[in-house]
């Protein structure tokens, strides 16, 4: 795998690459999309022209003889949980980066955005079990550590078990949090748990798809192996029927995911492994979510 130096270099690269994104593109959106619970009293100050007269603190005004108003501040400090799939199927990508690397970059963007907005960030890596859990914290070095883990982590398991990961999450994170589940969702059986997570937390599912999962180039026979189950199969990529099958399979999966997330009250972002395309998807998501509010 990568040496420590290389990993740090990569972390740095990702930090730089995502900084612009965090500072400019998401600065407002992130803040407004994820709001705190409510307003908490912060201080009392003198009334200025234009302030809402409903907020005048009459007791203080009576004492000082001039109008004072109460100032509220949004109760911030949200918790952002990044639940990232590091199973074998994530290790696939036909473009520059694998799904795994795209997941790391998206996580970095989210972690830095959270940091900038004073939110705590935690990380949960899973395969067919929970591989790593970093409890939510708020600091720059913590965010960098999260990215480092994402890049360098070598999982023990190969398979995917989203259900186990989400169950673990619902046990450990009891307060309402923003949960990003980043995976290719090559799994089943997590339908009920994601519904309960959707109820309890603000859950956003980020599904990563590679274009080769939808269309294979016509190259004749290709021997494919499932990195999770080690199942091997030889497919005829030149066969139009096979290609149709492949395309329909992808379509079917997308529809299933869409329906599932809609039913679970979970927002869904679809990301492809193509270069930088995730930025567009993320911006689109934030814009759309802002509008809904």
């Amino acid at each position: 795998m990568l040496s420590t130096k290389e990993i740090l270099k990569k972390v740095r690269q990702i930090e730089i690459r995502t900084r612009g994104l965090v500072n400019h593109l998401f600065s407002g959106e992130y803040h407004s999309v994820f709001k705190g619970r409510g307003m908490a009293f912060s201080e009392v100050r003198e009334y200025h022209f234009g302030d809402d007269i409903r907020n005048i603190d009459w007791n203080v005004t009576a004492r000082f003889g001039s109008p004072f108003i109460k100032v509220f501040e949004e109760e911030r400090e949200l918790t952002v949980m990044l639940v990232v799939d590091v199973s074998g199927s994530q290790n696939f990508g036909s473009d520059l980066r694998t799904k795994q690397q795209i997941a790391a970059e998206v996580s970095a963007v989210l972690a830095f955005s959270a940091l900038k907005n004073n939110d705590k960030t935690g990380l949960l890596l899973f395969t067919d079990k929970v591989e790593k859990f970093i409890p939510p914290k708020k600091s720059k070095s913590h965010s960098l550590r999260i990215i480092r883990e994402l890049l360098s982590f070598e999982p023990e398991g190969k398979k995917t078990n989203i259900k186990a990961a989400l169950e673990y999450l619902s046990k450990t994170i009891t307060r309402r949090a923003i949960v990003f589940v980043i995976s290719d969702f090559e799994d089943t059986g997590y339908e009920s748990i994601i519904k309960s997570i959707g109820k309890k937390h603000d859950c956003i599912a980020i599904s990563i798809v590679d274009k080769r999962e939808v269309v294979l180039p016509k190259l004749g026979l290709i021997s494919l192996r499932d990195p999770e189950t080690d199942q091997e199969i030889v497919v005829d990529s030149s066969n139009p029927e096979f290609n149709r099958f492949l395309y329909e399979r992808a379509l079917r999966k997308e529809n299933t995911l869409k329906q599932l997330f809609a039913a679970a009250n979970v927002d869904h972002i679809k990301i492809t492994t193509e270069k930088e395309s995730y930025i567009k998807s993320l911006i689109g998501f934030f814009k759309g979510r802002e509008k809904r509010r």
Partner: protein, 335 residues
């Protein structure tokens, strides 16, 4: 250009053991396939691709591997050097001429030999004939007179058939030893063979015929014919079947063989007299005569090899060619 010509043999048959190798390779390949050690592209959720109708090409994807193994088998067979032999024998021999003179008088039906004297003599003569190579053999039978049953021939099949046909009682009863020898000599008279012999089998005393046995022996001697005389009959009495009004009755009849005469005949002609008292004895005598009158036979056998590896190698090359073409075009597999 035959893969399996008649009489195919292998110069190195042990090489064929290597035919196990392709089988082992096949097993190994299969195990690798199951152990997922082959090169392949990672692809998520392959199991969802598995349950669909497989295309023709997918079904044939292992064909190149199979063809390679088959080609290897052909090469191994070729390496074992399949060949056929053109084999033959050239026999150079100076044969001798033999006339077997057989007594068929009714006394030969005596059963001191099993089943009787005549049958025992016939079967042992038959064995003797089978043991000879390229000798001309003739057959003379006699009782009151002598007749040629079979002229001198190398066609032993005919000879043996005629020998089988001999029956007692077809001739008038009696024992004309002189006539028999004269007849036998007559058969050998024209012969140009180096060695000429008469084997005379009899069980009685000369009591008929126009020719005196001693005179006949002298004639034989003058023609260079050696006469081996065999007296057939046990010592003392022998059971003899008699046809009576109440069926076949056995009667013990004393055995009378004119041994001095037979000895004299043998001595005059440079032959030898033997006395057979049973089947075993007669067999020994024939063996001894066989040994004494061994003709010089040179048998040179030759074997011409024809190699047959060519079609096998051609087949292997053809298989490899097909494998190559298939694996580079229609059945090309990635990675």
């Amino acid at each position: 250009m035959q893969l399996f010509p008649d009489g195919l043999t292998f110069a190195y048959p042990w090489v064929l053991w290597f035919l196990v190798l392709p089988i082992l390779l096949g097993v190994w390949y299969f195990l690798r396939l199951r152990k997922k050690l082959n090169e392949s592209v990672h692809f998520p959720s392959v199991h969802t691709l598995a349950n669909r109708g497989r295309t023709v090409r997918e079904r044939l994807h292992f064909t190149p591997a199979l063809l390679r193994l088959i080609a290897l088998m052909f090469i191994i067979v070729a390496l074992a050097r399949p060949q056929t032999y053109m084999s033959g024998q050239n026999i150079f021999s100076e044969g001798i001429d033999i006339t077997v003179v057989l007594d068929v008088s009714t006394s030969m039906l005596a059963e001191d030999f099993k089943p009787n004297r005549l049958e025992a003599a016939k079967s042992l003569t038959d064995e003797f004939v089978q043991g000879r190579v390229s000798d001309r053999i003739g057959l003379v039978i006699f009782s009151r007179d002598a007749y040629t049953q079979c002229p001198m021939t190398t066609d032993y099949v005919v000879l043996r058939n005629l020998l089988k046909d001999i029956k007692s009682g077809v001739l008038e009863d009696g024992t004309a030893i002189g006539n028999a020898i004269a007849n036998g000599v007559n058969r050998l008279r024209e012969s140009k063979a180096k060695s000429k012999i008469i084997i005379l089998l009899t069980d009685g005393v000369n009591n008929a015929g126009e020719v005196n046995p001693v005179t006949a022996a002298e004639i034989a001697s003058s023609f260079g014919v050696r006469v081996y005389t065999i007296g057939v009959g046990t010592r003392g009495t022998a059971p003899y079947p008699m046809q009576t009004a109440i069926g076949v009755q056995y009667q013990n009849v004393p055995v009378e063989i004119d041994e001095p005469l037979l000895k004299q005949i043998a001595e005059t002609t440079g032959g030898k007299y033997f006395r057979a008292t049973g089947n075993k004895g007669l067999e020994e005598i024939y063996k001894e005569i066989d040994k004494l009158e061994r003709s010089k036979v040179e048998v040179t056998s030759y074997r011409a090899k024809t190699e047959h590896f060519y079609p096998w190698v051609l087949l292997a090359l053809f298989t490899v060619l097909i494998e190559f073409l298939l694996s580079k075009t229609y059945l090309r597999k990635l990675p």
